[in-house]
């Protein structure tokens, strides 16, 4: 494998990391039945907060902590507005999307363009020396390794633990879960705040690691929406969600590589359109029942495992309020 390709793949993994973390965070709250639509704004505000705290204290760790708190507070606001104040999750989330991005831009104006020292890559001894895999996956900053662990832990928690069973029950059949003694709204509060915490960390991973710095308008605007679409593409399954994030990042990396190369002439605009066309295309694929039809023509033994992996029905109670009274 030549060096340039390895570099592209390495930066793909890095660039995908905020998307992976944000989309896994959103998967956690959506599996419990709550939509946090505010991602595009939350990411911006968390990135700004993380950068400002990181630069002023000189500690990236504190920056990540502050960003995580911001993300968790936003999520708390959405879930309290839903459960206690009976306001539509989508409406509150959408208003927050715009509001938080504007707050970030307004408060961050003096920090735009300020230099910073981003997290430096850490080579993991042993695995970093494996050919191909090492240079692509194990020569990154700490936050990238955090995302690997996150994917696996989320999968274990969600599908192979008792709390995960309760979480999915709350998102699929809240009334049944309630009748069996699960405190539905308390579960939803917990997973939404947990998801928000991760969304905050994702925001800070832009400004402190992957795209270090802060700019007006924020560089990651639009990624929040992509992350939300990736959750759908990923069928609310941690592995597929992560795969979706890597695919999007790969597409972006390829388009910027093509842009730099002199021998390939494709209009730049067409390349910039690709991620959005892919987003709409994949949503059509997973929403229109094409996959179900595909599954039916497959040989029987292949059907079972592929159904588990390709299934893409949203949690049945997604976005609905549960009133125990």
């Amino acid at each position: 494998m030549n060096n340039e390709l390895l570099n592209i793949l390495n930066s793909t993994v890095a660039n995908a990391t905020p998307l992976v973390i944000a989309a896994i965070g959103e998967t956690l709250n959506e599996r419990a039945g709550v939509v946090n639509l505010s991602l595009d704004g939350s990411l911006a505000l968390a990135a700004m907060t993380g950068f400002v705290v990181g630069v002023t204290t000189g500690s990236a760790g504190l920056g990540f902590l502050a960003a995580a708190i911001v993300g968790a507070l936003v999520a708390l606001l959405i879930v309290v507005a839903d459960i206690q104040l009976k306001q539509d999750q989508i409406a509150v989330g959408f208003v927050l999307t715009l509001l938080l991005a504007d707050i970030a831009q307004f408060l961050g104006q003096e920090y735009a363009g300020m230099p910073s020292n981003p997290l430096s890559p850490v080579r993991i001894p042993g695995v970093a020396d494996i050919p191909i895999i090492g240079p692509i996956f194990f020569n990154h900053s700490v936050i990238v390794y955090f995302s690997y662990v996150l994917i696996i832990v989320t999968w274990l928690m969600m599908f192979h633990s008792r709390p995960g069973l309760a979480q999915r029950a709350v998102g699929e059949r809240p009334a049944t879960a309630f009748a069996r003694g699960t405190r539905v709204n308390r579960q939803r509060l917990f997973y939404t705040v947990l998801g928000g915490l991760l969304i905050g960390i994702a925001g800070a991973s832009y400004s402190l690691a992957i795209k270090p710095g802060w700019s007006n308008p924020p560089a990651m605007r639009g990624d929040g929406w992509i992350a939300l679409a990736i959750v759908i593409f990923g069928g609310w399954h941690p592995f597929r969600v992560a795969l979706g994030a890597y695919l999007f990042a790969l597409l972006r990396a390829l388009s910027s590589a093509i842009q730099r190369s002199p021998d390939i002439q494709i209009p730049l605009v067409l390349l910039n359109m690709l991620p959005w066309l892919l987003m709409i295309g994949t949503l059509i694929l997973v929403s229109s029942g094409v996959i179900d039809r595909l599954l039916r023509v497959m040989p029987r033994p292949a059907q079972r495992w592929s159904r588990n992996f390709l299934r893409s029905d949203p949690p049945a109670a997604l976005g609905t309020r549960f009133d125990p009274d």
């Binding site: 306001q87 409406a91 509001l99 307004f106 679409a229 959005w276 987003m279 709409i280 229109s288």
Partner: protein, 365 residues
Amino acid sequence: MRSHRLISATFIVLPVVVAVLFTSLLVMLVGNEPGEVFQTVWMGAFRNSNALAAVVNFWRPLVMVSMGLVITFTAGLWNIGVEGQMMMGAVFASWAARSLALPHPIQISAEIAAAALGGALWAGLAGVLKTRLGVNEIFGGVGLNALANLLAIYLISGPWQPPEGGSAHSTTPFPANSLLQPASTEFPVSMVALGLAFASIIGVTLALRGTRWGLQLKATGKSSASARLMGVPTTRSVISAMMVCGMLAGLAGSYRVLFTYESLRPLVSGGIGFLGLLVVLLAGIRALWTPFIAFAFAAIMAGSTRLRVSLQLDASLAGVLQGALVLLVLLSNGLRGRVVEWSDRRAAKQAASVSETASPGARHE
């Protein structure tokens, strides 16, 4: 019941006060005087007839988009794609402005018709994606917004680039014959466009109140499944609501290119579509309140363009004030519900204890 009215009044004033306080706090955080900032915005919007005209020139596209969104919200749709529909209206109007050369009134009519068509088609696409292919209109809309803007960038930097060379900034200004004409130099507003805005306000209000179509939209919005069982053609309702909204958004977008900028630019919609969603949420999807709230928002938007010039502050403060207002109104609506519930329960308890003491023997009869 008097207490209910008092509670209602409190919960209308409260979010406004808190939103202003919150915005002031942010202003102080960046080291400025809130009083000075609010005065700058106010003066920016109302200092003379020219400033007022700038407010009207924001209001005109904003109110048209908002009236369109009243329709989609009534049908239960989150038309986030409204920004892209404005862009497509702008692109189609620009095409007509560049390539046609007709007598002025016919030219303008052709441009406006093209804008309406562009917006309606782009919205119809989102509607078809939703009804035929199951793509949620929020995500379909976000994707279509990005695509519409990239299309504009492609046209500006490619086929429509100015002859002096490719800049991604804007096309060459359109010929004077293609532009909407201002009423006067003291009050530079296009009366033709303003007339169209008033027509759309009246048209949407009447269509929702007194037509069969309006009723079908309401039924679809309340519960799509039961509306279908009642024989309402829900697919047609969804697509027609989207297309009418897209038409109005397209007209709004055309105003930005045929009057405000006199050329096509990237992001020519200027966030007005998203702002329209906030306006309609704040109005509680009521057609009658929408124009007034749109005016207040247009004043904040036009007034805050002065912030950078006179105080070196980012104009995103306008969005902070508007967003905080809408968020707090939503939250306070919820809080009011809780307080009314609580005061009713208390009143019921009191009534029960009063009746008990008034007729102590009642229980023994």
